[in-house]
Amino acid sequence: MSFLSSPTNFFTSKLNDALGWARKFSIFQYPFVTACCGMEYMATNCSHYDQDRFGAGFPRFSPRQSDVLFVVGTISHKMAPVLKTVHDQMCDPKWVVAFGVCTCTGGFYDNYSTVMGIDTIIPVDIYIPGCPPRPENVLDGLMKLQDKIQKGEQSRTLYDPRTKIGRPAELAQGYTIEGHIKHIESVS
């Protein structure tokens, strides 16, 4: 189908492009800083590395005003409900960056108090590994996030450690394995 036969599609897709372009250079981030990675986050934000060059220099300390959640540092089980609340308070469209290996997988803190990856609680768009990641690595992750924002993609899946596959975030409440299998069958 060419755009001549459906001019509306042409305009909406171009409009989305323009919106994505505008969004990717005005990232309002909420830094959810808990641990060591915060030091590298500071370094990335300050003059040597300067995140502001990517339009992401201005942290908003209210989840309701921000559209990218930077989860910086280990999330413990005591902290997890707070993270979920903050994420729920953000308006769509929203993106989540897992900064550092503890947020990606739990890192080497495989113990009773640490959440093994925040993607078991909230959907994650960009994973920046490293313990802590170097500022260059963070900037690389930021550029990947900009690509994602440009395309208008958002992650909607959570990771399930039992089945080792992602599941839709909407099913997170009241989740059962049987329901999950049914869901997979209905999708495929």
């Binding site: 808990t34 641990a35 300050c46 540092g73 280990t74 009773y112």
Partner: protein, 440 residues
Amino acid sequence: MTQTRSMLLNVGPSHPAMHGVIRMIMELDGEKIKGVDIEMGYLHRAFEKMCETVMYTQCFPYTDRLNYVSPLINNVGFALTVEKLLGIDIPERAKYIRVIMSEISRVTDHLTCVGASAMELGAMSVFLYMIKAREFLWELVEEITGARLTISYVRIGGVKADLTKGFADKAFGKIADVRKVLIEADELLSRNRIFIDRMKNIGKISAEDAIAYGVTGPFLRATGVAYDVRKSNPYLIYDKLDFEVPVGSTGDNLDRYFVRMAEMEQSLRIIEQCFQQIPDGPIAGDLSGVVIPAAQMVDRAKMGQTEDLIEDEVNLDPTLQGSTRKYHDAINANKKDVVLPAKENTYGNIEGLMNHFKLVMYGHGIKPPIGEVYFPVEGANGELGFYIVSDGRDHPWRVRVHPPCFPIMAALPKCLIGDMMADLVPTFGSVNMIAGELDR
């Protein structure tokens, strides 16, 4: 009939003016703080439990992440405690290197603390300048350790790698740069009316209260008590160095700021003295052999061509630079049951290989005698003590860290009660709470 009730206000655990996860539930009478309940544990990562499950050398990465603003001091503290448990001494040069790295870490810690608390009072440019200075020092740290922040540089019985060639000159250059930044920050803050109004006579604590709560470090020294572990129990080579312990008088936020600023200057002085006193290391090129890649050395050793191999130096990964044989003995204790052999010995002869595996294999490792020791070092926030119980096996039976932040946070309500709500921010900034160390 009117009724007066105080208001409960929740601050944290994720709050813009709090660099660290902690929750405070405050009882307010108007703007005045009547009571504070501090809830911690949001960054509990089970440091102590994890250390019980790994070997002694594997504890170092966990200690890095205790006080992540000055990880080298944690490394040094843990290594010294295990060395006390083993009853070994380390070479002079390694001691100097440890002191140099500790003091660099102390400066980075204070820079972060002062910069962040100034930022929270609106002085954004001071924060940018101080992070710039911290970046200078991290470049030094990176050159020696191979990492910026979580370094795992210290080893039991020594350090990982020697100082690089020409490091002293580079360090002097960076120290001069840092001094410039400190003077700049001092000009911006120390006579700044807004800054002084918000810091002076705010967050006061008396020396008696601080001692009762077991507070140490800059927080205690700001109240006028000159207690510093480096002076009272000089470890490493601190008794050979000339430095002062700055003290305050009133124990308010401004005193804590001045103590930290003065301590940074003293730490820079210590680093300079260390470079003058440090015993000479090996000079590059005093081996007759050639430099060959590690894989080639292993191949030749496997073929049995080991006669001239003893002369050669191995070409290692850049992060291990400065740890080859010619540096090894000057920076590590001569103890085969504690210190890993130089890489040439591991790759080039069977004795070295066996020695290496005896130390890294599960069930072998470093085995201290049965006993228990406590060793304090001066961390950036106060006395950082490790208490280790050994059961004679390769795992620590119990590792307890005495975190300097913990008593400070216990004493924080004393500072806050009676002040205004807005004074929470400068007071909390000036105590330099590090959640990784507080919650472990």
